[in-house]
């Protein structure tokens, strides 16, 4: 169980502030780091990886300072965003070298374990420069896993992967998280983050915008009515009873969709009221579909707030 602590961290480059007074704690499980381009995600990951000193504040790993502390790498595995590796090596040579650099007692065996984890043994004796993007990504992954780290930092790991490779990597990260490792990855693909991460950290313009389960974050946005699309056996009657209820701010009939579009101001009251009232009036509900509950909506609310 390893915890990354980020305490009042800022990082500036000249007058440009990339990370602005961020405090967060990343614990075991899978955490997604989100933010628009240029929000400071890479800077933050670089600081967690010990590649960049915070201008102020402290980045720690189980209490130990990360910057200029090579010993933390015994517990940290890093999958960098950049593609370059030692292309003139085979994956096996590359991962063995990484194991040796970690000073592992049996580098060969450790490398085989790591390559097996990412299912790359079939291609381990080919030079890395013959690999596709997805294979490279897995070789990078193997090198990060070879010393069995308790922390994994991945910067845009899904970049350039095809659908099947994405599914495989997602499965692998999920497994790593389930084993109790602290897995932090950044991504722009909200669909994937939604499927993978228990927990998200959102950074906007260098500031820490939100933290937690995105659905719970959504519920905290009490100033944003929840939008619903509801289809029923009797839309007009349903609309009439709903509009009388305090949880509902507005209803309109969408003729193209043949459904009701509802704005609910009190999420809890509305979701409980709807099935009850429908039952009491004998209205059959076909579709009850929230249209801004997805991570995508939550994210865009956070970014534009």
């Amino acid at each position: 169980m390893t915890v990354i602590g980020i305490d009042k961290v800022s990082r500036w480059f000249g007058n440009v502030v990339a990370v602005n007074d961020i405090t967060m704690t990343i614990g075991p499980g899978v955490t997604g780091l989100l933010g628009p381009n240029g929000a400071g995600k890479s800077t933050l990951i670089s600081m967690m990886a010990g590649f960049l000193a915070p201008s102020t504040g402290a980045v720690t790993l189980d209490g130990a300072t990360v910057w200029r502390n090579e010993q933390v790498y015994r517990q940290v595995g890093i999958v960098p965003e950049r593609e370059a590796m030692y292309d003139f090596l085979t994956a096996r040579e590359f991962v063995v070298a990484n194991a040796e650099l970690h000073g592992l007692p049996d580098p060969g065996a450790a490398a085989q374990r790591a390559l097996a984890t990412v299912e790359m043994q079939y291609a381990q004796d080919r030079r890395i420069d013959t690999y596709s993007k997805g294979m490279r990504q897995r070789a990078k992954m193997a090198s990060a896993l070879v010393h069995n780290p308790s922390v994994l930092l991945l910067d845009e790991p899904f970049n350039g992967m095809d659908p099947r490779q994405r599914l495989q990597l997602m499965e692998l990260l999920r497994r790593m998280g389930a084993e109790g490792r602290t897995v932090l990855f950044s991504s722009h693909i909200l669909e994937e983050v939604e499927q993978l991460a228990h927990h998200i950290e959102v950074v906007v313009a260098g500031r820490h915008a939100a933290s937690g389960d995105f659905r719970k974050i959504r519920r905290l946005m009490t100033d944003r009515p929840h939008r619903y699309l509801v289809r029923s056996s009797d839309d007009r009657r349903l609309a009439a009873v709903l509009i009388a209820h305090a949880s509902t701010a507005g209803i309109e009939l969408d003729r193209t969709e043949e459904a009701l579009r509802i704005q609910a101001v009190d999420f809890a009251a509305f979701t409980e009221f709807l099935p009850r009232i429908a039952r009491d009036h004998g209205i059959r509900l076909f579709t009850v579909s929230p249209s801004d509950e997805s991570l995508e909506s939550v994210f865009s609310y956070l970014v534009t707030a």
Partner: protein, 268 residues
Amino acid sequence: MSATTATRPPGPPRPPAGIPAAGSGTGPRFFHPTVARLTYRGLLGRRRALLLFALPALLLVIVGAVRALAGADDSTAHDVLQGFALSGVVPLVGVIAGTGAIGPEIDDGSIVYLLSKPIRRGTIVTTKLLVAIGVTVAFCAIPTLLAGFVLNGNGQRLAVAYAAASAVAAVAYSAVFLMLGVLTRHAVVVGLVYALLWEGVIGNVVPGARTLSVQQWAVAVAQKIGRGDLISSDVGLSTAVVLLVLVTAGATWFAAHRLRGLKITGEE
């Protein structure tokens, strides 16, 4: 927007199968064989390695032509060894090997695989330096020795003297260019300008600059070894040795210092 703090769910229960298998405690201090292997393969595995072979080959071709033209002539041998081998081939090979030992890795970002390991960064620098020195010596001092024997059969011990000078210069050049490789992405260009202009032209022409030229320090060593009075340096041997050691150690320390503070961010 209201404050957003959601409680996080408890993490998955099981700890990792085994917290990192600790290595052998304190690692090697000056030389890490794996770093050396990666460096060495990187140097000889990239396209610029061709230049490492081309320059000594060119030296030997020219030397062969000169020998055929002029026979075994001490003065000619001295001119070629100093004017072409020591002031041309050695700095150029030094640039390629010195910057090539670390520059490309920093440039393409693959250095993170070395830096994200429990290894002192000083060790990475000294290991890479040793490899660069080895390569430079192999591709300079040995061809120079051969060239000397071809030219005049080691008359006045010129071959040995200049081979030794090449080796000494190789050490200093490797350190200086390795440092350049850490400092700037344009290390090869800066290094070439330095090698061609300072060492090749100014160091040979402007008297004052000669005291501050690795080449002249190396010549001081050659002067000590060679017989006869063909070889002459503007710098005394002891000054030369002190300067060589200072430059080598200083450059190495500075490279290590900069590598410790090397910032690595994403693509931008």
